[in-house]
């Protein structure tokens, strides 16, 4: 008696490298997009595209940053590595406001005190 499968509904899943599944919740990304009051309604496909682009961006930023860590002979990726990546790459210039290039310690702590209460080291 030939063995017949119980159900023929089990379609083989696409084998091969998994395409980038959406890592970030698209809904959250959409909400972040809409935080800007000027931004109007966003189509789902647009939110999806932004989500993928953000993943690529994160990977790019992380890579550029840890290259600096490595070049400096360190093992822990820190603020200054990200700051250097921002300063060295023109596409990352939009981040200069939130990640200013590392300042000399005195200036840095002054700026920090202005922004937020100093945390104990």
């Amino acid at each position: 008696m030939s063995e017949t499968p119980i159900s023929a509904t089990q379609a083989p899943e696409a084998a091969g490298p998994t395409p980038t599944k959406v890592p970030f919740p698209v809904g959250r990304v959409k909400t972040i997009m809409r935080e800007d009051k000027e931004v109007g309604p966003v189509a789902q496909e647009a939110a999806l595209a932004v989500t993928y682009a953000t993943e690529i961006f994160l990977q790019y930023l992380a890579e550029k940053s840890f290259e600096n860590t490595r070049d400096d002979g360190r093992k822990v990726l820190g603020y200054k590595d990200v700051a250097k990546a921002v300063a060295d790459n023109v596409e990352l210039m939009f981040l200069e406001d939130i990640i200013p290039p590392t300042l000399p310690p005195r200036q840095a702590s002054e700026a920090k005190n202005k922004a937020a209460p100093p945390a104990d080291p």
Binding site: K21, I32, A49, V50, I98
Partner: protein, 156 residues
């Protein structure tokens, strides 16, 4: 929350950021085995991603308005990436998006594929045959279990 600082003088943003676990996972996947990312740096990178989202949205919105359209579409996002110097992302975004569409379509097809082409009677017959097989297997297992039983037979 004292770990968030206001990035601008504008409206205070709610604590809206990307899931930290996901950010951590993506960063760790990029890290070589000998380098780790400090927790604060992870948070920093997450903030950068949020800024990136704002940047692209704003640009895409402009594009949308230029075309006198009401809803931001995928093409506006692609255009925004191009204009902001992230054109190298476009092929990957496009590919991932196309793959996503394909996977979604396949999933939908798969779930709709309940109709195997067999009649209910034929399916019942198949099922009955399988049950019979299973019963037979169980029955033979019982026999084997008794035969190989651990209890030594009492010999005179």
């Amino acid at each position: 929350m004292d770990d968030d600082y206001e990035t601008g003088g504008g409206a205070a943003e709610e604590d809206l950021s990307l899931p930290k676990a996901t950010v951590a996972k993506l960063i760790n996947e990029m890290m070589p085995p000998d380098i780790v990312c400090a927790k604060e740096t992870r948070d920093l990178i997450a903030e950068c991603c949020v800024e990136f989202i704002h940047l692209i949205s704003s640009q895409a919105n402009e594009q949308c308005e230029k075309e006198a359209r009401k809803t931001i579409a995928g093409e506006h996002v692609i255009k925004a990436l191009e204009e902001l110097g992230f054109e190298s992302y476009i092929p990957e975004v496009q590919e991932a998006y196309d793959d996503h569409l394909k996977t979604t379509k396949e999933r939908i097809k798969g779930s709709q594929k309940k109709d195997t082409g067999l009649t209910p009677e034929e399916l019942e017959e198949m099922q009955a045959a399988l049950f019979a097989k299973a019963r037979a297997r169980m029955h033979s297992k019982d026999l084997t279990a008794e035969g190989a039983g651990g209890e030594p037979s009492a010999s005179g």
